[in-house]
């Protein structure tokens, strides 16, 4: 399925292997098999995990230093649980790649990035209707919002900077 990040489309270097048995340099395993995949990981493979948006982020915290990617499922664009999970994983110190996987719409791209996602794994049908230019344009449509702690900049800190510069 097409994969995109803030720079545009990118190749997917990960191999889905639910039970972790595939012989590939980067494998994406289901959460239920994560423990086994990590313990049997003598071959220097990189491990990522796919999770449902019903998984408590606490359950993943013990593994965060050992995995390179977390792919959070978005069963529909209207189900915003993944945004909160991403936020919690970043707070817990996860430094790897966060992937949103599901039928998101371009207008959610900015939100996903602000919550800590790096990339979107989009079903073919959505990608066919919403070309990558739409995503990049949508991500830039609102230049600044009001929440601190989401993304690199926000209006409150910009006001503060303006105050400090002006006085």
């Amino acid at each position: 399925m097409p994969l995109l990040d803030r720079n545009g489309l990118k190749p997917d270097e990960w191999t889905i292997s639910e039970d972790g048995t595939a012989d590939a340099p980067r494998i994406l395993v289901a959460f239920d098999h994560l423990k086994d995949a990590l313990s049997g990981n003598g071959r220097g493979r990189r491990i990522g995990v796919t999770i449902a948006n019903t998984l408590k982020s606490d359950a993943l915290v013990p593994y965060l230093n050992d995995i390179d990617l977390v792919s959070i499922a978005f069963p529909s664009y209207g189900d915003g649980r993944g945004f909160s999970i991403a936020k919690q994983l970043r707070r817990a110190g996860f430094k790897g790649t966060l992937r949103a996987s599901g039928p998101l719409i371009a207008d959610q791209f900015a939100y996903a990035l602000a919550c800590g996602f790096d990339e979107i794994d989009l079903p073919q049908a959505q990608a066919a209707r919403q070309p990558v230019e739409h995503w990049l344009k949508a991500a830039a449509s609102i230049s600044n919002t009001y929440q601190r702690g989401f993304g690199e900049q926000n209006i409150l800190d910009a006001r503060r900077a303006a105050r400090l510069a002006g006085k």
Binding site: F83, A110, R129, K137, S141, I142, T145, R148, L156
Partner: protein, 555 residues
């Protein structure tokens, strides 16, 4: 009142451009109807029975004269010459064309207004006490808090795809005029034993098909913790609120199912992990917002206005209006005047473009250029000198806006109902009109005194019928409209859900049924006892008995 700085202005302009682009992507097929729907809803565009409806945010009910004039212009140019104020203090236009919406948004942005998050499964327009800043029982003005929340909740990256809509209300006074306990989050500003200002946080209120009164989950939250605590509440709800059934998706259901204590525990656990100072607005920002709501430059006036007293003595109609539609102002010599949008026979909350201009002119000349919209669908002139009341009233009379019924039986809240709304199961406005005609007599209204009737045209309860002293719910039974009557609801700090009196009645029988209920009160009340006080003392039984009496003699 709050004014946009360059950041706010840019944000709203970018939002207009974004919506224009979204409409274009819908029209060229990039977005399908399912994908476009939440996007248009989050911009206040509904598809109603006959046309699109546009809902414009009036944050915490505050408007300037210039803004109201712009609404008047929009009403004339894009609608049918009128608009409708809702129970969330927003303005709705019922007849705009979808292709005109981006142009309307530009006109709104010109006067620092927008339609952001007036619908959809996100944090909605924040409401507050309409007498904020002028009520004597106020601990602190709730508007700076409401404005801070308005900004924080706008385009929140994490909380724009919630299980269901989410409504927040703020009061800063002892008396609750913002119905905070009927909100997903209600905030009450209070002072603790040490004299510090903070918030009581209530969660899980709401009306709709499962009415609930909000429960307190934090007795005292320091002011600086507000945004972090809201983030914790919303995160818990976003992650754990039900998404399997849209009718069980409001936070009130979650609070009810797991209990307020457990909900509070989960919120506190999340809150404990947050870096509060990194989320909070810094003190200078809080002060910047608060400065917009600083008390205006009041004149030093005597508490008693000779001109006002003389006019009352000489004009009985004015004296009646003054006794009913004025609210005491904390500053001597001033009053807040309620302009009723409940003229006998009018649709509650409707106002013509011409009337909007009259009201805007009055506010500009006599009320420091400011207006408030109330959740009861009326308008308030908040800063009026008593000396000016008579001339204001005369101008209101000329504009058909001097109905003396604020808080009385004909000051009815009603949703648009089956005349406009695609969700409605019955008509609301005609019921309100019939009741207004039945109780039109001014003397009789005054004798009955304070009594709130609230009418909803379906179980979604936009007309707040659950918290009406008398609530009327329009349902549909085998093709016929049927109206269920409830009694004893209360929208104030003693919030309560009304109880059903008996089987539904047909539309034509509603006025008689209400008449019988009122008669019980008039027959049994003690000196000075209001309707709702009498209902509490007497209980449901005598009212029920009267309600169940047949209006028609047996054939």
């Amino acid at each position: 009142m709050y004014r946009y700085d360059e950041f706010d202005a840019r944000f709203v302009r970018e939002r207009v451009a974004q919506f224009r682009d979204q409409v274009a992507r819908r029209l060229d097929g990039s977005l399908n109807e399912d994908e476009f729907k939440p996007l248009r809803l989050k911009n206040g565009v509904y598809l109603q029975l006959h046309a699109y409806m546009l809902r414009i945010a009036v944050p915490y009910g505050t408007l300037s004269s210039r803004q109201l004039r712009q609404l008047a212009l929009i009403g004339e140019k894009y609608d049918r010459g009128y608009g409708h104020f809702t129970t969330r203090t927003n303005m709705q236009f019922n007849w705009p064309r979808l292709r005109d919406v981006p142009e309307i948004l530009d006109l709104l942005a010109d006067v620092e207004m927008h339609c952001i998050q007036t619908s959809g499964n996100c944090i909605r327009n924040v409401t507050a006490d309409h007498f904020a800043g002028i009520a004597a029982d106020e601990i602190e003005d709730p508007r700076p808090t409401a404005e801070l929340i308005r900004q924080w909740s706008s385009f929140h990256p994490e909380f724009d795809y919630l299980p269901r809509k989410f409504k927040i209300a703020v009061t800063g006074a002892a008396r609750d005029r913002a119905v905070v306990r009927a909100h997903d989050i209600g905030l009450r500003i209070l002072r603790n034993a040490k004299g510090e200002i903070g918030y009581e946080v209530m969660v899980g209120g709401g009306l709709g098909r499962t009415p609930m009164i909000a429960k307190t989950i934090r007795g005292f939250l320091p002011k600086t913790d507000l945004l972090a605590y809201l983030e914790a509440v919303l995160r818990v709800y976003n992650l754990e609120g039900r998404r399997d059934n849209k009718y069980k998706a409001r936070v009130k259901i979650m609070v009810h199912e797991i209990g307020a204590e457990e909900f509070a525990r989960r919120v506190e656990a999340e809150f404990a992990q947050l870096d509060g100072p990194a989320i909070a607005a810094d003190p200078q920002e809080v002060a910047r917002i608060a400065a917009y709501f600083a008390p205006p430059a009041y004149e030093t006036l005597p508490a008693r206005s000779a001109r006002f007293e003389t006019a009352k003595a000489e004009n009985r109609a004015f004296a009646t209006w003054a006794s009913v539609n004025l609210f005491p102002h904390k500053v001597p010599g001033y009053a807040a005047a309620v302009i009723s949008l409940k003229g006998i026979g009018d649709a509650p909350g409707d106002i013509t473009s011409e009337q909007m201009r009259v009201v805007a002119d009055l506010a500009e000349t006599y009320s420091l250029d400011e207006l408030r919209i109330t959740h009861a669908q009326n308008v308030v002139l908040p800063y009026v000198k008593k000396d000016d009341l008579f001339i204001i009233w005369q101008k209101l009379v000329d504009a058909g806006l001097a109905t003396a019924n604020a808080g009385l039986i004909t000051d009815i809240i009603a949703c648009p109902g089956l005349d406009y709304c695609s969700l409605a199961t019955a008509r609301s406005i005609p019921i309100a009109q019939a009741l207004a005609h039945r109780f039109a007599d001014e003397k009789r209204q005054l004798e009955i005194g304070e009594l709130n009737i609230k009418i909803s045209g379906c179980i979604n309860a936009c007309g707040h019928h659950h918290v009406g002293h008398i609530g009327i719910l329009g349902l549909e039974k085998s093709g016929q409209e049927s109206y269920q009557i409830t009694l004893g609801g209360d929208a104030t700090e003693t919030a309560a859900i009304g109880e059903i009196l008996g089987p539904g009645v047909p539309a034509d029988d509603v006025p008689d049924a209400i008449e019988r209920i009122v008669s019980v009160y008039l027959a049994h009340r003690t000196a000075g006892e209001t309707f709702i006080e009498a209902v509490r003392r007497l209980g449901l039984a005598p009212f029920k008995a009267a309600f169940l009496e047949k209006t028609h003699a047996p054939a």
